[in-house]
């Protein structure tokens, strides 16, 4: 090995990277900084061999690598202790294998969630993850940051959906854990280890997930109250009931104009989601079952003595992002 490319200059580093990534290397722009750390070069590998080659070079030269997907969660974790190469995985954007009949899909790290969901929706299926910023978030980033959204309540988080992973180790070795079948206990669970590891163990090349059918209908009920306590209490009672909610979020606070809100999403057949008739009366039953001081008088839309009122409200805009959802 000759002179260290790092010691030489940023230009020398980019020259060394160029052939490894088909010339897709550039100087870092302001927007490429990660928590204030500005790398010397941005490399955009187009396949797993190029990812491995960049990592092997960095390993030999003692260079720090920052893997990046959609860049939506760069604030998570500690700021990196330096960074020489920003590894932009945006070109690894393929659906590797989609088996609709088996409800499984393998997608490359740089594929955007919205594009994957669009491909799956053609078969009436979806990856049951609804993290923030789906237009920008990528599969690799979602796995690395363990990003999930409100519907984790029903479907679980990344660790519950991921069944296989292919990674490049920091020394450039490609390794695989899990598989492409939904049930598999052979070997240590590498997919879970890489979930939420924030890229500290290696670079995710692709990941395999189990899928779910898109529910025929989806409805969200929003309730407001002057303070959060009764909404939190109601949350516990919904969870403890036989109602199957897909998501329950409490948001807003006493300072916002509408006050604290509780959004509850139900999914399933259209008929069962007739909320005004069937479900509302069932809700009253749940409310009446409460053991709190004002449980007996608590009903939706009315207030008892010392019991803050709970009334219907409007859902927040973020809740309409799910496939085929129709919020009420």
């Amino acid at each position: 090995m000759g002179v260290s490319v790092r010691a030489a200059s940023p230009e020398a580093l980019r020259d060394a990277l160029g052939p490894l990534v088909g010339g897709r290397v550039r100087a870092a722009a302001e927007g490429d900084s990660v928590a204030g750390v500005r790398p010397a070069a941005v490399a955009e590998p187009g396949d797993e061999a190029a990812v491995a080659a960049v990592l092997a070079l960095a390993d030999r030269e003692g260079l720090k690598v920052l893997p990046r997907g959609g860049g939506t969660q760069l604030g998570l974790g500690h700021p990196p202790a330096g960074g020489d190469i920003l590894l932009d995985l945006g070109r690894l954007g393929a659906v590797v294998e989609y088996a609709p009949g088996d409800l499984t899909v393998t997608a490359q790290a740089g594929l955007r969630l919205t594009d994957l969901q669009a491909a799956l929706a053609k078969e009436g299926q979806w990856l049951a993850l609804d993290p923030a910023l789906p237009l920008a978030a990528t599969i690799g980033g979602i796995v690395a940051t363990n990003a999930s959204g409100p519907r984790r309540l029903r479907y679980g988080g990344v660790r519950d959906q991921i069944i296989g992973v292919r990674v490049a180790r920091p020394d450039g070795t490609i390794a695989r854990g899990g598989g492409k079948v939904v049930k598999n206990v052979a070997g240590f669970d590498l997919p879970k280890l890489f979930t939420g590891a924030l890229g500290t163990l290696g670079v995710i090349i692709d990941a395999t997930f189990r899928l779910y059918p898109i529910p025929a209908a989806s409805r969200t009920v929003v309730l407001t109250a002057p303070e959060p306590a009764p909404l939190c209490d109601l949350t516990l009672r919904i969870i403890g009931s036989t109602l199957i909610a897909s998501a329950i979020d409490v948001y807003g606070d006493t300072t916002s104009s509408e006050g604290p809100r509780l959004a509850v999403r139900f999914e399933g057949r259209r008929r069962r989601l007739r909320i005004r008739r069937g479900a509302w009366s069932r809700w009253r039953v749940i409310l009446a079952q409460g053991r709190g001081p004002c449980a007996a008088k608590r009903r939706i839309g009315s207030s008892g003595a010392g019991c803050p009122s709970i009334r219907p409200g409007r859902p927040s805009p973020g809740w309409s992002a799910a496939p085929r959802s129709s919020c009420c």
Binding site: D160, K180, V181, D189, T242, G268
Partner: protein, 497 residues
């Protein structure tokens, strides 16, 4: 880096009599087994074809006692093997030569039941079914339900990431474990995960569950419990052929229905189950399919009608709906007893545990039947059809010269078929001793070497359940990369195995 491996640390012969005295000081006289005839009880787990009498067995009653035993084992350089109820089917709890078994069957307390937060904290020796029994009055249950749930322990379920018929909809053990207290190799006690979802940092709970006892001994487990569904329906459909049953399952899943369970049994398995428990299965069917649906009553009713129609379309000759909970239990009893029932139709049998992409079921079953014919052996099939997890039962008679060996070979060939179709060598029974030789069929050298880095991080001395899961455990000081002999191997001190 310092190399620590058993061959090195155990170099002087172990004074087991002295070790036994020191262990007794930790676990008390009732917690130590040293008499040869009593030790033989622990020579095998559910995979009885593999046996090895341990040097000693300890039965600690607390986390501190487990810690004391582990520390002593490390001081003496003696391997140790954690064990729950010993029902595992892959030899994960089988002792290794000269080892100390850490039996957790005295740690049987349910420590905390927190209904509003839907979690239960248990000790590892608590039996799977006890958790459900404890929370059932509150309308809850513990979802993972291996067929052995009446006897298998939660600690063993954690080690094996056990599944069961209902994991199609509700997930496996790992999806229901929130946190663990673990005695690490070396003796440190750590808490992994926590009482809520998503503890910050690495998902060490996720990596520990299913690690088959290689990463430490868990002594407390925080489990999630699930609200009992409002409505449950169980449908039994009989088909003239197994292909029809497979087609029905594909149709059901393709229609966007996720049943709580979807199980298929072939004619031979039906015959065995009927002989054993008289579940009332149609005796002349080529295959039966059990589909359980649960959830909201209107949803379940609509799905049930749909499933019935799909079964008819796939050629079902008989459709039967369980009238009540009692009949449902009876119908399930036949399925859950199917492994043991194989004993009714054959003196010996091997249970296999391959997984395939579900849509390939008919093709794989034809391959298995052809292979069985080649080997001159009968294969009964019981499987979790919804997730493609096959349990072929290879029937043989060990009184016939060479038949046991042929059966083992056939069982191995079946696993290779599964991997060839993109599947796995084990869906829920674990690799253990039994299938470690098949790991290279599924994983490359680089894959397994990477997995070993995890083992080395937790268990660098390789004293904790050595020799399981991976065919050639790396010595942890080795530089990753191409195989080169370790200095200890060159010196003739250590062997690869």
């Amino acid at each position: 880096m310092t190399v620590t491996d058993p061959a090195e640390t155990a170099a002087p012969p172990v004074d087991y009599a002295q070790l036994a005295r020191e262990l007794e000081a930790v676990v008390g006289p009732q917690g130590l087994i040293a008499r040869p005839e009593q030790l033989r009880v622990y020579e095998a787990d559910g995979l009885v074809a593999y046996r090895q009498t341990p040097a000693l067995v300890t039965l600690p009653a607390t986390t501190e006692e487990v810690q004391g035993v582990v520390r002593l084992c490390h001081r003496y350089g003696v391997p140790y093997v954690p064990r729950g109820s010993g029902t595992g089917l892959s030899g994960g709890a089988m002792p290794v030569a000269g080892s100390v078994v850490i039996g957790l069957s005295r740690m049987q307390r349910i420590l905390d039941v927190d209904i509003p937060n839907q979690r239960v904290v248990v000790q590892p020796g608590v039996l799977n079914l006890w958790v459900t029994q404890r929370v059932a009055p509150h309308g809850y249950y513990y979802a993972p339900d291996p067929s052995s749930q009446q006897v298998c322990s939660i600690g063993g379920n954690v080690a094996e990431n056990s599944g069961g018929a209902h994991c199609l909809k509700y997930g496996f053990t790992v999806n229901h474990v929130l946190g663990l207290r673990v005695v690490l190799p070396g003796g440190d006690v750590v808490d992994l995960g926590g009482p809520t979802l998503d503890s910050p940092g690495y998902d060490l709970t996720g990596i520990f569950v299913g690690s088959e006892g290689l990463l430490g001994v868990c002594t407390e487990i925080t489990l999630r419990i699930v609200r009992k569904a409002e409505a449950v329906e169980l449908l039994l459909a009989a088909f003239p052929t197994i292909d029809g049953a497979g087609e029905a399952v594909s149709g059901i899943i393709g229609a966007g229905i996720v049943p709580a369970a979807a199980e298929i049994m072939d004619a031979l398995a039906i015959e065995a189950a009927e002989a054993a428990v008289h579940a009332g299965y149609p005796p002349d069917a080529g295959a039966i399919l059990l589909v359980e649906l649960d959830g909201h009553p209107t949803e379940v009713a609509a799905q049930y009608a749909r499933v019935e129609a799909l079964c008819r379309r796939a050629g079902a000759t008989e459709l039967r709906k369980a009238r009540d909970a009692e009949e449902r239990l009876l119908m399930w009893k036949g399925r859950k007893a199917a492994f043991a029932a194989a004993g009714r139709i054959s003196p010996n049998y091997i249970v296999q545990d391959g997984v395939i992409p579900r849509t390939l079921l008919p093709q794989v079953l034809r391959d298995i039947a052809a292979l069985g014919a080649d080997y001159g052996l009968r294969v009964a099939n019981v499987f979790h059809a919804g997730d493609g997890n096959l349990h072929p039962l290879v029937l043989y008679d060990d009184r016939n010269e060479g038949e046991e060996h042929r059966a083992e070979e056939l069982a191995g060939e079946i696993l290779k078929i599964c991997v060839g179709y993109g599947g796995s060598i084990t869906g829920e029974h674990g690799v253990g001793m039994e299938k470690r030789g098949y790991m290279p069929v599924m994983f490359s050298e680089a894959d397994m070497e990477t997995h070993q880095m995890i083992r080395c991080a937790f268990n660098p001395g390789n004293l904790c359940n050595p020799g399981k899961v991976y065919p050639t455990p790396r010595l942890c000081g080795e530089v990753p990369g191409k195989y080169r002999p370790h200095p200890l191997e060159l010196a003739g001190v250590a062997d690869r195995f």
